[in-house]
């Protein structure tokens, strides 16, 4: 078995809002091909961590390395150009634009738009509802459909690293399963590495390759998901 190459390395990262430290001295490594799952209660600092990795927040200390290069505090614009895409929490779509316009905006930075047709086709294959609703305003679709569109927008750049913030939040149980299945498919068919925050432990843990649990901004568990298969252990960390 070949050693998997580190894609994203976080070293001693701290993030603060004013005087309040939300993430404290946190380190982790996401390797190529991982589905790296971050668990933790509300307020644990998971979203803050993702936003600071993507450049939406500036960390107060520590380093973020991507492919060995220091990208700490780099702008989202530059991160997107480098193959890092982010799907924020809560149906992150352009609500007053059509589904097709949303997808095209996902590839805003691509100058040669002629290369996008196969990508849209691949996304429609993954989420067939998006082709059916091509000309519908995104804000008029159901929560589940909007979440699929939000992931579709990120996939328009064929990202190397896809960061997902609670993709199953607010979805019906059958849709949660569909979203988790699509994440596995994205990893398999596109070779995309996934860094995902989730609250739904039951549905997300089985698809994860690596896991981390956060509590009040710190790591309390970092390791294989199998280490959390025992319910008692899981409850102890959460």
């Amino acid at each position: 078995m070949t050693a998997r190459i580190p894609l994203l390395e976080i070293e001693g990262l701290s993030v603060s809002y004013g005087k309040r430290q939300i993430v404290s001295d946190l380190s982790l490594t996401v390797r190529e091909g991982d589905i790296f799952l971050m668990l933790g209660h509300n307020g644990a600092g998971k979203t803050t961590l993702l936003r600071s990795i993507f450049g939406l927040l500036k960390p107060s200390a520590g380093r973020v390395r991507y492919h060995g290069a220091d990208i700490t505090g780099r702008s989202p614009k530059d991160n997107v150009r480098d193959g890092i895409c982010f799907v924020p929490q809560g149906h992150a779509v352009f609500k007053r634009l059509t589904v097709h316009e949303n997808l095209m905006l996902g590839a805003f930075i691509v100058e040669d738009k002629s290369i996008l047709a196969p990508r849209i086709e691949a996304i429609n294959e993954l989420f067939p509802i998006l082709s059916e609703r091509r000309d519908q305003m995104a804000g008029t679709m159901s929560g589940g459909q909007q979440q699929m569109l939000a992931i579709g927008i990120a996939l328009m750049l064929a990202p190397r690293l896809l960061i997902l913030d609670e993709p199953s939040i607010g979805l019906a149980p059958n849709l949660v399963i569909a979203v988790m299945e699509s994440i596995v498919k994205i990893r398999q068919s596109l070779g995309t590495t996934i860094l995902m925050v989730e609250q739904n432990v039951e549905k997300s843990l089985p698809i994860a390759t690596d896991t981390m649990i956060m509590r009040t901004g710190r790591t309390v568990y970092l390791g294989l998901p199998e280490g959390l298969s025992d319910r008692a252990t899981l409850i102890q960390y959460l």
């Binding site: 989202p76 150009r81 352009f94 634009l97 905006l105 805003f108």
Partner: protein
Amino acid sequence: MDLILQLLANGISNGSQYALLGIGFGLIFGTTGIVHFAYGPVFAASAYVMWWLIAALGLPFPVAVVLGMAFAAGFGVLAYLVIYEPLVERGSPSFVVLVASLGLFIVIANTLAIVFGTDAKTLPDFSYGIYFLGDVVVTGVQIAQVLVFMAVALALSAFLKYGTWGSAIRAVTDNVDMARIVGIDTRKVAIVVFAIGSMISAIAAANLLVREGASTHIGFFAVFYAFIAVVVGGVGSIRGAAIGGLLLGLVESTGMWKLPTEWQSTIAFLVLFVVMLWRPTGLLRGN
């Protein structure tokens, strides 16, 4: 009946001017969230600049309008870069930005009065025709106001729908956080909307320069009507700003049927009040 038709014609013409001002102001407000009250004095300053280019330098009117638009674009962008952006970057609350825009309004308006004086500056020997549509009398300027508004509105709609920067503007207007996430340079978008919005104000200023001339108070009325048109139509909707402006012109004009002209501004506020009570997000579901 003839009077009503005449008032409607006047209303459409004035409404076109308000709508034109509204789409420029609304483009800036809806995209950046900045209530750019200095839009009024930028409008006034471009009217004065165009007057100066024609009256003092003898440039042809179309050339003066193009230069006036370029001046307004530069002025608007400068206002964003020097005043608004530093405040927004520091995370200042929106009321601080609002107060800064009012401060800028006063500074520019007073500077214009010092530089150009307080008397109205009209264009020398500028003639326009008078036309009869049945019993309705309209001037060439009134017709031009409607045509100019339609041309600008169509061009702006096409740009927003089909242009690369147009789609970026729509994205930022809809969801600025998501716009950043897909890699749109939101700073550049803000600069582009300040430039385009200010250019539109200069086109409206050219209309007014031909109709009445430039004077110190025109900036206040321009931003007053633009603001009401945008809020009535729905912030973030260019179509809403256009409809809001046209509605304002029509209601104001037909109101003159029974009310003296001193009530003109009051009618505009009344329209705003009624629409806000009935539809707080504006006629076309704004932000």
